[in-house]
């Protein structure tokens, strides 16, 4: 599979901004209506961007409905879903406790659901089975749409990575390949450590999305390790937080990423026609020049 060079992200739609809570709130207000999101996606599509990399936020379901309803208009539109939408789980854990929260997100039917509901210890501790059920629940909204890459979201990736739950990455990879014919992708803030673990799990040439920016913002343990890794190891790096929420001027930011030739794709999010077109143009220009 060939990864698309430019992926359109969704942080701006859901009030994620690493520089300013005020900006984040203004974005939340602006994108309160689903149509406002669709309008921006249309601008990105018209600019030649074909991939929407989005969390499995409830509101994305509406975007999925819209794309399904207009198959001709979005003939070559692809989703790269990121799961799970972590705040949904984190807030549920805060409100209900971990065990209850897990029950909430598992299907109501089925053997495991029934076991969990009964409160009996699940003797087999079949994490692979539970993982499959959770993935399927998150993927429901994308039914009938193209999802060639399915991502594991960074809080979950990094929680599993830190805890040493290394098998979970293979469970995820196996299931998204087998059931959805998709490539597994992994989002992380700890790229060097993750790459070692994925390779040890037999996940070859993995797709890893991480912050890659000239500031070194959230590139753990450090920018030098990232640069060395990208230059020398076999994997498919995807750069996010390239602009560091606007802390780096666009040309400088994109130039830095394009100079690292092994980076396969760049994710960016923007809200205005001008910014979307300009960022797309800069990536095209500087990718060609590099």
């Amino acid at each position: 599979m060939t990864m698309q060079r430019i992926l359109f992200g969704d942080n701006q739609f859901f009030g994620v901004n690493h520089m300013s809570e005020e900006k984040a709130r203004a974005q939340l207000m602006r994108f309160e209506s689903d149509q406002a999101i669709i309008d921006v996606l249309d601008i990105a599509y018209e600019a030649g961007i074909r991939v929407f990399m989005c969390t499995t936020h409830d509101r994305i379901a509406v975007i999925c409905d819209h794309v399904r309803a207009h198959p001709t208009r979005y003939a070559d539109f692809e989703f790269y879903p990121c799961m799970p939408y972590a705040h949904k789980y984190a807030n549920a854990v805060t409100e209900h406790g971990m065990f209850e929260a897990l029950k909430l997100f598992l299907p109501k039917e089925g053997a495991i659901g029934a076991l969990m509901k009964s409160g009996v210890s699940v003797a087999t501790k079949d994490m692979q089975g539970i993982a499959r059920l959770l993935i399927d629940a998150e993927m429901k909204m994308f039914h009938g749409l193209r999802t060639p890459v399915i991502w594991l979201q960074n809080v979950v990736t990094d929680l599993l990575l830190g805890s040493g739950f290394n098998d979970a990455f293979r469970y995820f990879a196996d299931h998204v390949k087998a059931k959805y014919g998709a490539e597994p992708g992994f989002i992380t803030m700890n790229m060097p450590k993750l790459l070692d673990v994925l390779e040890a799990q037999g996940i070859e040439n993995p797709i890893i999305c991480a912050n890659i920016n000239k500031l070194g913002f959230r590139m753990c343990p450090g920018i030098a390790q990232y640069e060395a890794l990208i230059a020398t190891r076999r994997f498919r790096p995807v750069a996010m937080s390239v602009l560091a929420s606007g802390a780096i001027p666009p040309r400088e930011a994109i130039d830095y990423v394009c100079r690292q030739k092994n980076i396969k794709s760049i994710v960016f999010g923007a809200s205005s026609r001008g910014n979307i077109q300009e960022t797309k143009r800069l990536i095209d220009e500087l990718s060609a020049a590099a």
């Binding site: 979970a168 913002f217 560091a244």
Partner: protein, 386 residues
């Protein structure tokens, strides 16, 4: 390598687990929780050694340090046991609820020369550290007023079954949310001398307060307001913001950025420019060995590990500073209930102080006591000490 143990695998516990296991200078030797399913699963998939009895873990594992992340009401006994085993302690916030108990543990840790730290992680957020640098550097001139706010979505409907909704277990917005804001006031400005106009109101909860408001009075005539509301879902997650006003300008800080307005740069002892200066987490934060949800969570554990390795017990967030935070929270509870301050805290001779030492009547905080069903976490934590 610093040998660490972990007690409690709730939301903070699993986060600590990941950070401790990846720390380059620490070894997570064992983990303790009373939910069999959780620890069996953990053992099966991660190979970490697990216990269901923390006392046994302390006896058998020769730990250098332990991280305690159980519900608050179990902190005191666990902390004391760990200290008596000669183990350095990192304890989740809030510390002990009863400042007298907390003070005895702070004294015990000091007597034994053990590292002691409490998980007030905002002290490790780069923007708040920058705020401290600016305030200590005199950027605001004579500071006279502040506002400390904490909002977020924890209790959004009447039903809530976790220990956070149980007063007797250290739940409630005062200890869960406002305590962070209080601790930041203590960290940045110093401990308030007295409080006034405290409101502890319920919005949805039956047993605990959901919103907290008070005026804080500090030495030198500095005053400030505190406002916390954990039934506020316009915020995606907890949002803490502080604003400061001084004779030379104002400063606003949250997790993401600092906004400083300076009238006369020459007043300060640090280099500044007149007018507005903004700094952002993208430029302020430093990479950690491992990142999960925010640099501050790794930074505080790193601080603990380094303190153990170096033997420097004067951490950024000690038992003593956490007791000060609990003391302010206790003042606010007494104030809301219309009870006088005990002599030691207020500097005045309080009449009828005997009444203060008895538990507050439930009506004092305007909430009706209802015995909630024991949630899973409570059962687990309760079993830990039984």
């Amino acid at each position: 390598m610093v040998r660490l143990g972990l007690i409690g695998l709730g939301k903070m516990g699993v986060s600590h687990l990941a950070i401790m296991r990846t720390h380059p200078d620490a070894e997570l030797v064992a983990v303790c929780d009373t939910t069999r399913y959780v620890i069996d699963t953990l053992a099966k998939y991660t190979g970490v050694e697990v216990y269901s009895d923390y006392k046994r873990m302390l006896r058998e594992k020769q730990l250098d340090g332990v991280v305690i992340a159980t519900p608050s009401r179990f902190h005191a006994e666990m902390v004391r046991d760990a200290l008596e085993h000669g183990v350095h302690v990192f304890c989740e916030k809030p510390f002990c609820l009863d400042p007298d108990v907390g003070q005895r543990l702070a004294d015990l840790a000091r007597q034994r020369g053990l590292v002691n730290q409490v998980g007030y992680h905002y002290r490790f957020v780069s923007a708040f550290r920058e705020a401290k640098r600016l305030i200590d550097g005199g950027a605001l001139g004579r500071l006279h007023h502040f506002r400390a706010e904490a909002y977020g979505p924890v209790v959004l409907r009447p039903k809530n079954s976790t220990w956070r909704a149980s007063k007797s277990e250290g739940g409630g917005c005062l200890y869960d949310y406002a305590s962070h804001a209080i601790d930041l006031v203590n960290f940045l400005l110093g401990e308030p001398e007295r409080v006034g106009g405290t409101v502890l109101n319920t919005i949805f909860s039956r047993d605990v307060e959901d919103e907290v408001y008070a005026t804080l009075f500090l030495a030198g005539g500095v005053t400030g307001q505190i406002a916390a509301n954990w039934s506020e879902d316009s915020h995606r997650k907890m949002s803490t913001k502080m604003s400061f006003w001084g004779t030379n300008g104002r400063l606003t800080v949250d997790r993401q950025e600092t906004q400083l307005y300076v009238r006369d740069p020459s007043v300060a002892s640090i280099p500044l420019k007149a007018g507005w200066t903004m700094s952002y987490t993208t430029g302020l934060s430093e990479n950690q060995a491992f990142y999960l949800r925010g640099e501050e969570y790794s930074a505080q554990i790193d601080h603990f590990v380094r303190a153990i390795a170096s033997g420097d017990t004067d951490t950024v967030s000690t038992f003593a500073t956490a007791v000060a935070t609990d003391r302010v929270a206790a003042m606010m509870k007494r104030d809301a209930a219309g009870l006088p301050e005990p002599a030691a805290a207020s500097g005045l001779v309080a009449s009828g102080s005997a009444a203060v030492s008895s538990p507050l009547p439930p009506s004092a905080t305007l909430v009706r006591p209802v015995r909630a069903p024991w949630p899973a976490l409570f059962r687990r934590a309760r079993a830990l000490v039984s």
